[in-house]
């Protein structure tokens, strides 16, 4: 009988131990660490000054003088500096007929430069990469961009590669979501993500105003970053992913068609930005915050939010619920220390800043990124993060929220926790000392000041 008891006890103990071990193991492998990120800095001969922008605009002979004025106004008031970068084909005058090689070279330059540096800085060999994700929204050649990277760096045969396309300016959190999910199914996995945008094949050379804004605001940029779930690399990691929320309101027709690539009346393809875009952005934003708040805010703040809401309902305030009133109900700064906002444009940054109740200090990284790099689409969040790091704002245990919007219409966000004090200059190395500048006003305002009279 003792034998039976002994066997039963041993079996029970083994099962209990195995359950505990599995639970512990799963928690260990649940983490997603950011080892490093490298932002793309194109060569200086690709800088787009306002003067050059003006020349490019004027090259389109189909536009009338009011159109020129409109475009120059956008460029001059955009909050974008003289140091942003454009694709070579556009600078060299081939904006209306870029060759396939032009498009490929543009993306190759970004991917290879950033990846070379990433592998160098992390001292990790490309052969160790298990997962590779590339997202470039508006260019998907065959073989895919991931295949180009696998070929160049001679990666392994069993590398899991995914090439995302068409996912808009908000694709960075989507790529992170994909990698994070794979991390939960495999141990000790290393992932490399490359995010960029392709401008050369997507230059709009028609006369539809809603499609010309893209030309004025989008600039060349990109980022490569390395993620892992290997606990042994935690000591080298910069940040750890805490949560990720994706909200897609494409079910609403207006939201779906407010930022869409289509042909104009003359059959030229361009990226149409409609007037209902801000409304769609607000809705997507609200949808995202609703799910994000409980994950990000401390319990105390959530309780206060419930109380305020209850009080509001109790007193049944007659006035309409304004943005400011809504913002006052939740203080995001209680759960988040730094905000990486998508640099969609000065208006977008200001609107989001107001909605979240942020100060000038909080939106400074986003404004400065827009100034220095322009709207680099999906990779903009990483330039903003780079600014914070270069300014030595990121200290251990700080929480960083990345928030972006994209065509579809989506609002995606992810929260990171900083694992150690970060000091790299990165792509901002050579210019961080000049930021923030005295003024963001375009130096050519005098020259192009005539656009204001109209």
């Amino acid at each position: 009988m003792d034998l039976l008891w002994t066997i039963s006890t041993i079996l029970l103990l083994c099962s209990l131990l195995s359950i505990l071990w599995k639970g512990f193991d799963r928690r260990r492998n649940r983490s997603c660490y950011l080892l490093d990120f490298v932002c793309y800095k194109p060569s200086d001969d690709r800088k787009l000054s306002s003067e050059l922008c003006s020349d490019i605009i004027v090259r389109n002979k189909r536009l009338s003088v009011p159109d020129y004025k409109f475009l120059l106004k956008v460029v001059v008031n955009s909050g974008i500096s003289e140091d942003t970068y454009g694709p070579r084909s556009i600078i060299e005058g081939r904006e209306e007929c870029p060759t396939h090689d032009d498009c490929v070279d543009e993306v190759d330059d970004c991917m290879y430069r950033t990846l070379d540096e990433l592998f160098l800085r992390t001292s990790i060999s490309p052969i160790d990469v298990d997962v590779l994700v590339v997202n470039v929204s508006m260019f998907a050649p065959s073989p895919s961009l991931t295949s180009r990277i696998v070929n160049r760096y001679r990666m392994r045969e069993d590398v899991k590669n995914f090439s995302l396309a068409g996912m808009g300016c908000s694709a960075s959190p989507i790529a992170i979501d994909l990698v994070n999910n794979i991390f939960k199914t495999r141990k000790r996995t290393l992932a490399v993500v490359v995010t960029s945008e392709s401008i050369a094949p997507n230059w709009y050379y028609g006369t539809d105003k809603s499609m010309m804004l893209g030309n004025c605001l989008f600039r060349s940029g990109g980022c490569s970053f390395m993620l892992t779930n290997d606990p042994s690399l935690k000591h080298r990691a910069k940040m750890s992913l805490k949560c990720l929320v994706r909200a897609h309101i494409g079910a609403n027709d207006d939201a779906y068609s407010c930022a869409i690539q289509k042909e104009d009346d003359e059959g030229r393809v361009g990226f149409h930005l409609s007037k209902s875009l801000p409304k769609a952005a607000v809705r997507a934003f609200a949808e995202n915050l609703q799910r994000l708040a409980p994950k990000v805010l401390p319990v105390g703040e959530l309780a206060l939010y419930v109380l305020r809401g209850f009080r509001h309902w109790l007193w049944r305030s007659k006035e309409a619920k304004t943005d400011a009133a809504t913002a006052a109900m939740v203080n995001f700064k209680s759960g988040v220390d730094h905000f990486c906002l998508h640099t969609g444009g000065a208006a977008v940054i200001d609107a989001v800043g107001r909605a979240l109740g942020l100060t000038k200090y909080d939106v400074e990284p986003a404004r400065m990124t827009l100034h220095r790099w322009g709207n680099t689409s999906a990779s903009s969040l990483w330039y903003v993060l780079g600014y914070m790091e270069a300014k030595k704002r990121l200290r251990r245990k700080d929480r960083v929220l990345m928030l972006s919007f994209g065509a579809g219409f989506k609002c995606n966000s992810c929260l990171w926790e900083v694992l150690r004090d970060l000091n790299d200059g990165g792509a901002w190395e050579d210019c961080i000392r000049a930021y923030p500048p005295q003024t963001l006003v375009n130096p050519f305002m005098e020259k192009f000041g005539w656009v204001k009279e109209a």
Binding site: L145, R156, A165, G166
Partner: protein, 496 residues
């Protein structure tokens, strides 16, 4: 992979039986081991007699508590074991797009259009020769925009084609399964050569009013094997999220990819690619296990991009006149064979019965240690699978694989007939082939299916499915009106 003819003696009857005996022995090793043990125990029981056995039982002095504890422990251990296994992924149902007959492109139409569009007589003759030997039939379909002379590849037309093929397939799937769009948790779309912004996944979310917290991914540029990449991604997501289902859409949009130049290597896609789409519903919910058709057993992905030759064999580029097209190199067949070999090396140990693995291993040992000149043993994959679905990339691809894997005509029938009826529909072709096998009433419970896809990069991806219930011949589907005419004999050359 050329193979020397086998020596005469191995085709002798005696050796065949020895081989058969060996296979049965190794595959059922555990059973063979347990038979003598069971016989011994049975004999012992009989010898002792029932009285002694009852006496033995009493001597154990078991009372209720002991029995309860033992039962509890057994149940507990069993639960732990079952909970720690990976979640099964079921294929509940799938639907393929059935092209409307007004989109048909018989050979005569294709040649007439080609002559009117293309002024270079040599290119026209070349395309005619390709078409004659392509293995395509007279009922393959091109999208409406390609019926214009010259084709009208606008973004609007591309979107219209996407809406036509994808929405038809999804509508079909919804009708068959009673799926509620709001119930979809994961959406993965793959379309290699058309990726608008917002993506095709956003287009689907808009049309069917899917939930705002859906996990959607849009893969592009990944070639003809992207369907299995999407399945791989959906499987990973389903491992992480319990009680979910995933909608996978595999398609290729032909409209924007008409090649208007004269470069021969780039004219091939015009001749071979046709309209098609498939919508697949995957689930990891236990309640779907009852109605699911298949269970996903393995997905193996192989990427040969590190090798320059493989990387460049399917390549999008511009010709001298500035027309963009996809160039297929002459090495394509050889590279496909090599990629398949790599894929098989990984999938072999997972699916082959023990007898084949042992033989392969022993031959490998002999080659490495004793005689390097000995021919490698090609495992008999027919033992591991009842059905094969090989991507209908073109007649040459199917021929090459048939030779490499030593398959009979019956094994590649689904692929050849799909190529004949639908043409090369890229990533969705595997699903048309599966539907052919089902339409022929050949899919039985317990059957294993091997899907092999090839694509630019160069990739070779495989998926292994196990059939969960005998599939009744479908009432409707892309093959419903023509299955009675198949299989057809496809001549080497169709004289045009």
């Amino acid at each position: 992979m050329p193979r020397a003819p086998l020596p005469e003696f191995s085709s002798s009857v005696r050796l065949k039986y020895v081989k058969l005996g060996y296979q049965h022995l190794v595959d059922n090793f555990v059973t063979f081991l347990s038979i003598p043990v069971m016989v011994a125990v049975g004999l012992e029981l009989v010898r002792r007699g029932p009285q002694e056995i009852v006496g033995l039982w009493r001597a154990l002095e078991l009372d209720v508590i002991h029995i309860l504890c033992s039962v509890f422990v057994i149940v507990f251990v069993a639960t732990v074991y079952f909970m720690s296994r990976p979640r099964p992924v079921y294929l509940v149902e799938y639907a393929c797009f059935k092209p409307p007959s007004n989109c048909r492109v018989p050979f005569s139409t294709f040649m007439e259009h080609t002559r009117l569009i293309n002024s270079d007589e040599k290119s026209v003759q070349f395309q005619m020769r390709i078409l004659e030997r392509s293995g395509l039939g007279e009922e393959t379909c091109l999208p409406p925009a390609n019926h214009y002379i010259p084709p009208h590849p606008t973004m609007e037309a591309s979107r219209a084609e996407a809406q036509l093929v994808i929405f038809s397939a999804i509508d079909d799937l919804i009708r068959k399964t009673g799926l509620k769009p709001k119930d979809i948790d994961i959406l993965v779309v793959n379309c290699s050569l058309f990726s608008p912004t917002p993506s095709l996944s956003a287009m689907i979310i808009n049309k069917y009013k899917l939930r705002s917290n859906i996990r959607s991914f849009n893969l592009s540029g990944m070639g003809c094997s992207a369907g299995l990449i999407s399945i791989d991604l959906a499987r990973d997501l389903l491992q992480v999220h319990p009680g979910s289902n995933a909608l996978v859409i595999s398609t290729e949009i032909i409209t924007p990819n008409f090649y208007a130049g004269n470069q021969r290597a780039m004219l091939l896609p015009n001749c071979l690619f046709r309209m098609g789409a498939a919508a697949i519903l995957l689930s990891n919910r236990r309640r779907d296990a009852g109605r699911a058709k298949y269970r996903l057993v393995h997905v193996v992905r192989t990427h040969k991009g590190a090798d320059d030759r493989a990387y460049r064999c399917v390549y999008e580029e511009e010709d001298a006149e500035g027309h963009t097209g996809i160039s297929l190199s002459k090495d394509l067949m050889a590279i496909a064979g090599e990629a398949l070999k790599s894929n098989i090396t990984t999938i072999g140990p997972l699916v082959l019965p023990m007898s084949e693995q042992l033989l392969f291993f022993l031959t490998l040992v002999v080659r490495k240690l004793i005689n390097p000149k000995r021919k490698p043993y090609i495992p008999d994959f027919k033992k591991a699978f009842e059905h094969l679905c090989i991507h209908a990339g073109g007649r040459a691809v199917i021929d090459e694989l048939q030779k490499n894997l030593e398959l009979s005509a019956a094994h590649v029938e689904a692929s050849r007939m799909t190529l004949h009826r639908f043409g090369n529909t890229s990533s969705s072709s595997l699903w048309y082939e599966l539907n052919y096998i089902e339409s022929k009433g050949r899919m039985r419970r317990g059957d294993r299916v091997w899907q092999i896809g090839f694509g630019s990069g160069f990739k070779c991806n495989s998926a292994v499915w196990k059939c969960m219930r005998t599939v009744k011949t479908p009432i409707d589907g892309p093959w419903s009106e023509c299955i009675h005419r198949y299989p057809v004999h496809i001549p080497e050359v169709v004289k045009l």
